[in-house]
């Protein structure tokens, strides 16, 4: 925990402020700032501090911050059934440890709109409870789950198109 590591609550506060500031200032290149932000949080091990005290910045929306509701209309037919079913992902265990796959995975995460990526990272990488995330980002529970759904759908399609459909080799 940040408190244990830094031995000093005031110092931990400073680190939190710094990480938040980094998230806000690196503005135009939204995707790399997200990575900086996440790296900072993990580096200083302040995940617990953030969980305990509700301090979080919502990354500002940018022009491409929405995934349109009809983004996957091609995947489903009019009755809501798959028209293009998911591919069978071959050798997923091998992919997890493959460096090239990891690069594709990172790129696909970075391609998500910023707020989708932030919410997805808080849920999946930082392992925060969805209720805490919604509360801290001041997003309604319904919106939270819609955003996570869209993030997962986008990420899934990106991985399928850029890795699994190509046989997993470049």
């Amino acid at each position: 925990m940040a408190l244990l590591q830094l031995h000093d609550e005031a110092r931990a506060d400073d680190v939190v402020q710094d990480v938040m500031a980094a998230a806000l200032t690196a503005s135009h290149d939204g995707h790399s700032s997200l990575r900086t932000w996440l790296g900072g949080i993990l580096k200083h091990k302040i995940v617990d501090l953030i969980r305990r005290e509700s301090r979080f910045v919502t990354l500002a929306a940018d022009d491409n911050d929405e995934i349109p509701e009809n983004a996957w209309d091609d995947l489903f037919d009019d009755r809501g059934h798959w028209s293009q079913g998911p591919l069978s992902w071959r050798q997923p265990d091998e992919a997890l440890t493959d460096r090239q796959f990891q690069q594709i995975f990172d790129l696909c995460c970075e391609r998500l709109p910023r707020r989708h990526a932030q919410l997805f990272m808080m849920r999946e990488v930082m392992d925060m409870a969805i209720d805490d995330i919604c509360k801290q980002l001041e997003v309604s529970a319904t919106n939270c789950s819609v955003i996570l759904y869209r993030a997962r759908m986008s990420l899934r399609l990106c991985l399928e198109q850029n890795w699994f459909a190509t046989g997993g080799s470049r």
Binding site: L38, G85, P86, Q102, R123, Y149, R156
Partner: protein, 65 residues
Amino acid sequence: MHCRKATRLLSEAMDRPLSLGERAALYYHLGLCRHCRQFSRQVQFMREATRRLRQRLDQDTDESH
């Protein structure tokens, strides 16, 4: 239940416990639909892949100390 709804519920199941009714409807659908079973495996896979991402980021920062 159609597949679009099933994918939504499979996503929500990663974040909250589904109600009994939701689970029953979802499992019934999954029993009939191999595409959605495939989708379910993929969502689980992405969770594992993000765990690995965290490990990698942790390693990066440990090495830079």
